[in-house]
Amino acid sequence: MNQSSKTNCSSPQAAIAARMASGNSAGAGLSWRWIVLLLILAVGLTFVAKGYHLFQATMVLAYAIALLGLNILTGYNGQISLGHGAFFALGAYAAAILMEHAGAPYWATIPAAGVFCLIIGYLFGRPTLKLEGLYLALATFALGVAMPQLLKYKHLEAWTGGVQGIVLAKPDAPFGLPLTQDQWLYLFALLVTLVMFVIAHNLLQSGSGRAMRAIRDHAMAAEAMGVDNRHYKSMSFGVSAAYTGVGGALSAIAVQFVSPDSFTLFLSISLLVGIVVGGVGTLWGAFFGALFIMFVPSLAEKVSKAAPWAVYGVVLIAIMFAMPGGVMGLLRKISERRSRRPD
């Protein structure tokens, strides 16, 4: 995008388009300095944190990828999903079955899970094109409810391991690197996260991303402008499912275990809560959302042993009261106020 605008900046339209595009990217993410700083901190964490904390960090990254996926669908394309836990489960099971039954190396299961979920997501998104709002919520909800039951289904037991699930081995660091398994897995997750976020960033800045947002903002106007609603909506479903599936695969490798009961409806609802807390329609919101769904439940347990979920609920409602636009909404508001003050 940027390169093409440099070459033909002579025409005024191109200049406007270039300005819009750059303005857009500045609004969508943080500046490069911040990204590099965060990345250094994230890599540094490998050597500071230990054992369980590294595992938690890996899980945060897995959730962040899954949340980004849901955000592509809900935040950028305006389709709600109450059943994304199902794709998380599919990705996790795809990875586990490939490692267990096909002897695939762990790193190869990540793209495989992504492609598998892309196909399933597209096939699910196609017939549900007709459903909108609450009706789509119900359809996806049904998917979320059905998935654990399907995974337990006795005729699939040979593959899925039924209620017992599948136990996986933790991968060792390759090339004789002097890293523990936890450290390596965290770095691996960080790499996957980086790749997935760069792809998402580029996708959302491209023409396809604009088409997706146009459909969210006004489907009929988008159609009139020549955007193929059917194609983009089902494709958004596919891409979103692929992201969530990759997150699921990563979490399966980190937890070293998959079972139907790890992917209940509560997971789907947590994912939705995650994108809203982080900020709907933002890239970086995924990290805040992932931190929330990873840490707030256990913090709530520390506050009150008797009724931890009541604490969780109160925190959730308080967050929504204080920042209805999520963490990213709040940050945006603060930066807007700050940029206005000098004038």
Binding site: Q149, I269, V276, V277, P308, W309, A310, M320, F321
Partner: protein
Amino acid sequence: MNEFLHQLVAGLATGGIYASVALALVMIYQATHHINFAQGEMAMFSTFVAWALIEAGLPYWGAFALTVVISFVLAMVIEFAVIRPMHNAPELSVVVVFIGLLVIFHSLAGWLFGYTIKQFPSPFPSNAWYGSELMSAHQVGAIVVALVMVALLFSFFAFTPVGLALRAAAQNAPSSRLVGINVGRMLMLGWGLAGAIGAVAGMMVAPVVFLDPNMMTGVLIYAFAGALIGGIDNPAGAVLGGFIVGVLENLIGTYVVGTELKLSVALVLIVGVLIVRPSGLLGRKIVTRV
């Protein structure tokens, strides 16, 4: 054949309960255009309140009436304190607030009343004349209660000035304000009614599934499906939808796939119906101006 009739009738009985909760969902949807995901848990909490009242020595119908009043007030307070401040927030944030309410009520019920499964009495004596081999007295009673609620609600909306005001406030808030309707009060009233309906539904379902904090989770899913399949903007449709879902669930569970997959299959069927008829069986097609 007898077996089939048995299943059909049992389906109607559970359908009556789904219909009541679906009705409560439609009430709130009518008034606020939100689906209250906490509806089931609020009903469960109300049922626990009724249980505590009965344990304290109140006669059944006394506890019943008191619970309905308490639930009515509680739902109004929730609307006023939690939902109203969110009226400018994005749709999804409101959904998350509902989820917050859901986990709060779930957790509070477990904390206050314990997680052990409790017996809840039925107001209908098991040897009453309307009970038969096909249908227990409680099942008949639950269906009658559901139908009476629909009739009452229908008359309330159709024949009373307050019902008219409530409908007006839901349909067009600014215009209703201009003709002197207190829209805020109407919203509270709508929530209160939904809370009361949910409480009745909870007290009807508890003798069948026993009382514990998880009792309404499945019911809410079915009620949601029932409300949508019948048409979310039509109370009669919601009741019809609730009955359809109840019967479908029972028949599929018995004859087609067994209990493990019946929820999934029922939901898939419902989604199938919705793909063919996107606004439900009795719902109005919504036409928006562009």
